[in-house]
Amino acid sequence: MDTAYLIETVIKVVVILLIFSALAGIGTYFERKVLAFMQRRLGPMYVGPYGLLQVAADGIKLFTKEDIIPTNVVSRIFKIAPVITAATAFMAAAAIPFLPQFTLFGYTVHPIVADINIGILYILGIMGVGLYGPLLGGMASANKFSLLSAARGAAVFISYEVVTGLSILAPIMMVGSLSLIDFNEYQAGGIGDWIIWSQPVAFVLFWIAAFAETGRTPFHLIANDHEIIDGFGTEYSGMRWGLFFIGEYANMFFISFVIPLLFLGGYGDGSLLGALGLLAKMSFFFFFFLWTRAAWPDVRPDQLMWLCWKVLMPIAVINIVITGLVMMF
């Protein structure tokens, strides 16, 4: 492994970490603004112009807050749990091509940390490991509501792993590769080549499962609102809670990148227009996360399980079978 490659990878990792940590903060700003506008409010207004510096104020607050480790918690696991959430969220980003390759000062940059040939499998696997953040955090918290929330979260995550995996299987069969770059090249021919036209069912299933994987509102059961408290994060304070938060928002951003890359043509042919198109699609999916939070109520845990095992999973299996039959003949 030569030094140039090593330096390039380290720089890419640092850039992605910095950009998406900052985006997680700005994401909270957008979430508060969008929700406020949809509810005829103004949202944050006082810190900076139009409340833009609210993100900085929140960040300072989180960083300087006292780090409380309650008396009866299993302290080592309690401390490591938020790190798992944030770390797995960022590790999943390693296989995502954020932009098409471009030339900077005569040097060709591939904006993907590692184009591994198991890309989407790696992303889904790492996001699955992210389950251990809420689970261990809730179990170690010595708080029964945290424990309940952790159990609920684990049930949701594990169930929807099935839907995610099965729904993505049919497009993988068509493309014949797990790398997101191969996915992109398969659809590079234009709008007509997008996988969404041949796999609309898989697209909808994956999109629904993405809400469960990120724990966003129709399936926001890990931090249950009707228990009034913040689920597994109840006992956390300061930056440890902030890490959970950054992990959740980074996950939302990464999933919003993955959906267009898989189904909506990604960055297309790699031109500037294609790159902007990918960013626009990502923005839409991120906005949709906020939009549903304003519009839809949460479902009950048993309804969620019913939806997963009795509706979505059979549909995904049928979709795979039909895709296989069509490909065979």
Binding site: V34, F37, M38, Q39, R40, R41, T292, A295, W296, V311
Partner: protein, 204 residues
Amino acid sequence: MKNEQFNNRNVSNGYFLVDIEDYPTDGWGKFKRVVKRTFRGELFVGLWVVLREMIKFDIHTIQYPAEKMPIGPRYRAVHEMKRLWESGTERCIGCGLCEKICISNCIQMDTRIDENSRKEVSEYSINLGRCIFCGYCAEVCPELAITHGGRYENASEQREHFVMYEDMLTPIDKLKSGNQLEFEGFGAITPHEDERVKKTPLAY
């Protein structure tokens, strides 16, 4: 108008029972209900409603310290002491009725006879920590001297926050510029009251 139409508490023609389908009991019925609910697109109605509100941008927020809600003239906040319009002297005659009627015992006053042998208020304070802003003092005042004002933002280092007579009294320059507001609310005389006054018949 008669009261009978209000006393009739039977369900009148305007009421109807909402048409709710029976819950399905067998599997096929449940399946049909799921399919119907799935494809009716109610989720998109919800999405459209919130998006419409966002596009209309009809914001109802009042940015409080910069903007304030208008309050009614009958609002009962911190008391004010009025002056006579003609002479500018204080209206309070020191009768002590407000102190007497105050149900939370928050008004304390002291009076003396001044050199013109007129009664004069020497001490007057209201303990705002005790005051329940009932408005009895303003109602009982024979001279319309103590009224309620619209200043509802109180901050103090202790709960027993007193207002002194001098703080409540209309400043003399505010009176001269004609800005003393009469309280229209609780305890004030009704408008055009003098037209309704009847002369006392002297016949008996």
